[in-house]
Symmetry: C2
Subunit: 201 residues, 2 copies
DNA sequence: CGAAACGTTGACCGTTTTCAATTACAGTGG
DNA sequence: CCACTGTAATTGAAAACGGTCAACGTTTCG
C-alpha cells in the first residue's frame, strides 16, 4: 500500500538488512527483545497478540509497502507475534540506528512524526470508510479518497480483488457494486482507470 | 476514546486555548492557513474533505479525548473542513508553539512520535477488527483487545451504545451478540465488567 | 418526579456473504 | 507455439446476518 514508510531512509543504507521469511515463519515473537522495525517489501506479515489465557487476537496484516512494529522503538519487548502469512521479503531497520538518527537530528524526528501523522490520518479515513454500510457508497467514497483531478479519477495499480480486502468487502460484492454504479451513471470504467461522475444537480 | 493526545502537554499551558464551537459551526475550513492542532474535550467534530467536483467525503469524526488535525503541523493549509456535529469544547494548541517545542527538544519530538506510533497501532487494530464480519466474533475480539488479567476481563467505562459505534455495529446488534455470547458461555457479564471465558479444550 | 439515555428483545427486510460456475488473460514450460 | 495453470473478473442463486423499526423496562440525573 501507500503507507508512509520513508523513515527507512533515516537509517544508513548499509545498516538495513533484507530479510526473507518463509510462510509460517516468525519475524519476532511476543516478549522478544525489540531489535528492529520493519517494512514489508513482498508478501504479508500477520501480527497477532496472545492473551494470558492462551487465546489470541489479530492486530494487523502488513502488506507490501507497509511498515510494522514502529512502536517497538519505544518498547523493550514486542507485544505481539509477527508471522509471515506467505513467503515474504522484509527490510529490517535496527532499532538502535533509527533511534539514534531520531535523537541526533530534530529534523529527522520531525520527519518521522510527519510520516506517522500522515498514517494516522489515512487510517482514520479508512476506518471512517468502514462506517458506510452500503457497498456502492463505500466504494464511491474510497474512490473519492483516492481520486485526483476534475472529474475525479483513479488509476488502478492493483487488482480489485486486493482493493476489496482493503475496503472490507468480498470481491464479488465489489464487482456487483461497480456494475451497479456504472449502470447508474455514477462512475465510468476503462482500462485501469475509474472516473467518478458528478450527478447533475 | 483513549487516543494518545498527550502532545497537548508539550505546549505551555498558558498558550492553550479552550474553544467552544456550536453545533454546525466550523473549527476551520479546507484551504484555511493552519494555525493550530486540536483536542476534543466534549462533543464531536466531523472532518470532511471537499473534492474539485463539489462532492465531499467524510474523513473522520473526532470524539471526546481525540486529537485532530495533527497533520496540520506539517502543512500550510488544512486539507479538510472541521465542523462540530454537536456543541463542542476543544483545546487548541497553536501550531507554532507545538512545532517550536518539537524542534527545540529531541525528547519532545520523540515523545510526540511515540504517541503517534501508538495511535497507528491502535487504529490498525481497530481496522483489523472490522474485517471480522460476525458480530459475536467481532465483539469478542474487541473485548480481547481491551482485556487484561486472567481470565481476561474488561471494565466498561462507557455505554455499549457508544462502544457499538466504535466497533461498527448497531447497539441492537451488540446486545443480541452479547446475549448470544453469554448464552454460549463465552463471556460472563456483571455490573460494568465483562469476563472473557476460555472455552475448555 | 419526569425526561433522557441506556439496555433489551422481537420481527421483518434487504444486502452481503457464500458457494458455484464461467470467461478472460498472463505467464510457463514442453 | 500451444497446452496448461493460476489469477482476475464476472455473474447467478440461496442463505445468513445485521440493519431497521418498534416496543418496553430500567437507570440516571437534573
Amino acid at each position: 500500500m501507500r503507507s508512509a514508510t520513508g523513515w527507512i531512509g533515516l537509517v544508513a543504507p548499509d545498516r538495513l538488512v533484507t530479510r526473507r521469511v518463509a510462510a509460517g515463519e516468525a519475524v519476532f515473537r511476543q516478549g522478544d527483545a525489540t531489535v528492529a522495525v520493519y517494512r514489508v517489501e513482498q508478501g504479508r506479515v500477520r501480527l497477532v497478540r496472545h492473551l494470558e489465557d492462551g487465546s489470541s487476537v489479530a492486530l494487523h496484516v502488513a502488506r507490501a509497502g507497509d511498515g510494522f512494529a514502529e512502536a517497538a522503538l519505544f518498547s523493550d519487548v514486542y507485544h505481539c507475534d509477527a508471522v509471515a502469512e506467505v513467503d515474504a521479503v522484509l527490510t529490517q531497520a535496527p532499532k538502535a540506528d533509527l533511534l539514534a538518527a531520531l535523537e541526533a537530528d530534530p529534523r529527522a524526528s520531525l520527519a518521522f512524526a510527519r510520516m506517522l501523522a500522515t498514517q494516522v490520518r489515512d487510517l482514520r479515513a479508512r476506518l471512517e470508510l468502514r462506517n458506510i454500510r452500503a457497498a456502492p457508497e463505500r466504494i464511491l467514497a474510497w474512490l473519492k479518497l483516492q481520486a485526483s483531478g476534475t472529474p475525479p479519477a483513479v488509476r488502478l495499480d492493483r487488482p480489485w480483488t486486493e482493493i476489496a480486502a482493503e475496503i472490507g468487502l468480498t470481491h464479488e460484492a465489489i464487482y456487483r457494486a461497480l456494475a451497479a454504479l456504472e449502470r447508474d451513471g455514477r462512475i465510468e470504467r476503462a482500462a485501469g482507470v475509474v472516473r467518478v461522475l458528478t450527478p447533475r444537480g
